[in-house]
């Protein structure tokens, strides 16, 4: 009942409430809603036919394929890392734990361009391994492996960051109970831990996927921009745009914008699921009364 109480003494006057709402929503309208509408409006500026033609261009299709391929390769690695890191950090105590948490955040802080440059310096022609790689005829930069490596770097923290606080909050009672009942390590993980973290894991994967498919700066540096070969969709957008082919650029952009919208919806659904689950657990196990 207290939720419906309007706290009169702690409320702004009506004119101020309306002004603030107008200012906030106005800001979001100009900075979020309008660009989103503009993407689709520009993409369809030439009609449905031009849109379809732009997207069915072989270069566009290969860009879509490459984008999906990189994400599919990258995500399992970062899921494995995220789960391992969260397991070690949330369930055990060891020295240097807070330093480790800070280091996991590092890729968020580094400029994508610097990330690309770093791998160029290592695997490029004048890089540390450059001569050895060219002797053995292995191409890493300006080729697919380099693009996968920078995407790994860029999306490295997402899953771990979701799981660490979640698993810390859940504690280790359930796992200890499972072990005391005779479960093996993997049985404990698949039957107890994984069901508890599944929504958090999915949440991290959704965010990592959006970033993996959308990354531009880092991938741009190591891709070499070889058409039909090392062009992901975000890079394709740039190339077509710079050729003054607005419809082509925005048609590709609209696919990515659609991906962004799907990401937002999926994220909202998972957030809702997570909230529902905690609420369900709360009502199933009411706190003991202290009176």
């Amino acid at each position: 009942m207290s939720a419906t109480i309007v706290r009169k003494a702690a409320a702004e006057p009506r004119w101020l409430r309306l002004t603030l709402t107008a200012v906030g929503l106005g800001f979001l309208f100009f900075f979020l809603a309008l660009p989103l509408v503009a993407v689709f409006s520009e993409a369809f500026a030439g009609g449905w036919g031009a849109y379809r033609e732009a997207l069915s261009h072989p270069e566009a299709l290969s860009a879509i394929g490459l984008t999906v391929f990189i994400a599919v390769v990258v995500l399992p690695f970062n899921v494995a890392f995220g789960v391992a890191a969260a397991w070690a950090i949330a369930k055990f105590d060891f020295r240097g734990k807070s330093l480790l948490i800070t280091l996991i955040d590092l890729p968020f802080a580094v400029s994508p361009v610097v990330v690309g440059l770093v791998f160029l310096l290592i695997f490029g022609a004048q890089g540390v391994f450059g001569p050895w790689l060219s002797d053995h005829d292995i191409k890493i930069v300006f080729a697919l492996p380099g693009m996968i490596i920078v995407t790994l770097f860029i999306t490295f923290p997402f899953v771990a960051r979701e799981l660490i606080p979640l698993m810390q909050a859940q504690g280790k009672d359930e796992e200890e109970a499972a072990v005391s009942l005779g479960a093996s390590g993997w049985q404990m993980f698949f039957r107890v831990t994984l069901p508890n973290i599944k929504w958090g894991l999915l949440y991290g994967v959704i965010l990592a996927n959006a970033r993996a498919m959308g990354e531009f700066g880092a991938v741009s540096v190591v891709s070499g921009h070889i058409r039909g070969e090392t062009n992901t969709l975000p890079l394709h957008v740039e190339i077509v745009y710079n050729e003054y082919n607005a419809i082509g650029a925005f048609a590709a952009a609209s696919v990515l914008a659609l991906l962004a919208l799907v990401t937002l919806v999926a994220k909202t659904v998972v957030e809702w699921k997570m909230r529902q689950e905690t609420e369900m657990l709360d009502t199933a196990m009411p706190p003991e009364k202290t009176e």
Binding site: A9, A38, A85, I104, Q126, G214, E238, A257, K267
Partner: protein, 277 residues
Amino acid sequence: MKRVLPGFGLSLGFTLAYLSLLILLPLSGLIFKASALTLDQFWAVATGERAMAAYRVTFGASLLAALINAFFGLVVAWILVRYPFPGKRLVDSLVDLPFALPTSVAGITLATLYAGNGWIGRHLEPLGLKVAFTPLGIVVALTFISLPFVVRTLQPVIEDIEPEVEEAAATLGASRWQTFVRVLLPGIFPALLTGFTLAFSRAVGEYGSVIFIAGNMPLISEITPLLIISKLEQYDVVGATALACVMLAISFAMLLAVNGLQWWAANRHHGKERVSI
């Protein structure tokens, strides 16, 4: 110490190996490469005229964008937590759009919107306000990409404010403004500063969205990440490396600042020693 749960060695070992191979070793490779330069050479590259101008543009625009987001982010977080309005859930989800939308898409869209014939630029140009292909365009792009940070760090903090605290201030005779400035703002300030720092840190490193709208004129509207790229394209790997080292140092500093801020927010007003009576 006997550990009850299995997998400590495996998970920590994997974590450290993966972190070292993918993140730490490559980054130290950058520093190693830069160490081939003498200090004078490094200094000359890192503080050259074009580099200094790029820093000015990058940090100036990032600071402005972060300030804009601090103000509007506070308003947006406040109305999302406190005021009912239709479509609130939708608006709340939309706030994360800049995280989900690839930067190149944001870049071409903002450039189109703010160009002289664009939906927004068309109305600004007669007022003498050129946004696209000027430093102002950089501010717009950076504001867009760093928009969610302040909102998302403030929202849970505003949700956690006990309404009783505001009512206590009211019964003690404080006006709404006094309550905001003296009671609420000190409480949410660390979160505001954290959000601001995160936004600033993200804006400083941003590349994709800016290059389409900036105009990229050396000394005027060229950001540091773009300067790194153009040095690379001119096969000036040493110059690019020096600039990247500067950027990396700033990234570290920002990361430390955010951690420090969070530590400060969690520990202030708990005094030196805890007393329990």
